[in-house]
Amino acid sequence: MNEKELLEEYKITGNLDVLGRLYAPYMSLLYGVCFKYLQDADRSQDAVMHIFEELVNKLRLHAVDNFKSWLHVYTKNYCLMQLRKDKRAVHLDIEDNLLESEQKLVRDDGFKWDEEDFEKLDSCLEKLNMEQGECVRLFYLEQMCYKDIAERTGYDLNKVKSAIQNGKRNLKICMESKGNGK
């Protein structure tokens, strides 16, 4: 049974075994996500279990198309709510939250690049600021990993990461404005 069928079956039967089969494969990733926000091992474990409890009812009421990304967003929101309850100041890198809106934009596999597109890309790359341009080139064209880019450029690892994420997004926007949303 695939994920969609499992979701359907759970919605009809409410059988926790089925929900367990859906949820278990994501638990380790979910724990990682929870730890990113809560930064506490016990709280993260509890969060993973609480989210499961919430899904017990939620998934009987709502039809979910893309379980993986739905679960990710749900978990993230859950953690943010926890932090808000703590009344702790939440320091979030805005990049991390912008990232997910890009998800759909980049999934055009059937697209073929032609000469014109490369020219557009070149001119868009030129428009990026120095950091972003440099990191994006090294990452996508030289196929270097973050660590090597950080060593090469002398930037902090996190800076490299966000420069690539920002650069990628800006490139996308630039390409779209040139009439190529592909």
Binding site: N15, K36, K68, Q143, K147
Partner: protein
């Protein structure tokens, strides 16, 4: 499983066990998959993957799922079911009481009716024609009482009948005729009472028996 593979990749990435190409591949994947990116960030902050913790988490999930079946049986005696059970019990007792109340007075009235029917509904008179020597061993009066008492009126035919029969060596009637006919089908109860009743003496008997239903 796919996600165990991802987890070991994350583990290797966070612990610097990957080569450059593998790191680049995972980073690229994570750029397309914010879920993966968040998980990598989380494990990065935790400085590694703690497999023990994760298997504990899997255990907690398994326990939680197993609880469902226990929960189900608990719910079996939940308030709804208990309420239904209690209502059924109350209804059962009520119906029993009503039946009992109805049944008791009915029994009383039945008793009086039965008495009336047995003693007063039929009157039977037996008169010897004196043609033959036969007579009941218990005497005519008692014989008449016997018939009156035991006659229930099954297939009753109103009126007087002339009954003639012979008495065998055991004092039992045989060769019965009623109103000169040997077809006795219309008087089966009377015949049965005569044949199975008190003994006779003598050789032959002729009697008039009046079967009369009293008006109530």
């Amino acid at each position: 499983m796919e996600n165990n593979y991802q987890l070991s990749r994350i583990h290797n990435y966070v612990n610097g066990l990957m080569n450059r190409e593998e790191m680049h591949a995972l980073e690229r994947e994570a750029l397309e998959d914010p879920f993966l990116q968040d998980a990598i960030d989380g494990y990065g902050l935790q400085e590694g993957v703690d497999v023990k913790q994760l298997s504990l988490l899997q255990q907690r999930l398994a326990t939680r799922i197993a609880e469902q079946s226990i929960g189900k049986s608990k719910r079996f005696y939940g308030w709804q079911r208990l309420a239904i059970g209690a209502t059924a019990a109350v209804m059962f007792v009520t119906i029993c009481t009503l039946l009992l109340l109805r049944y008791l007075p009915q029994q009383k009235s039945k008793l009086t009716e039965v008495e009336l029917m047995q003693d007063q509904v039929f009157s039977i008179a037996v008169a010897n024609t004196g043609q033959f020597d036969g007579e009941p061993v218990i005497g005519w009066a008692k014989y008449e009482l016997y018939l009156t008492h035991d006659y229930t009126g099954k297939g009753h035919k109103e009126g007087e009948v002339l009954v003639r029969f012979k008495v065998d060596e055991q004092g039992k009637p045989f060769q019965l005729s009623i109103n000169g006919k040997e077809d006795l089908t219309e008087y089966t109860e009377l015949v049965k009472l005569l044949e199975d009743g008190p003994k006779w003496r003598g050789h032959e008997v002729e009697v008039r028996i009046d079967l009369h239903q009293l008006k109530m």
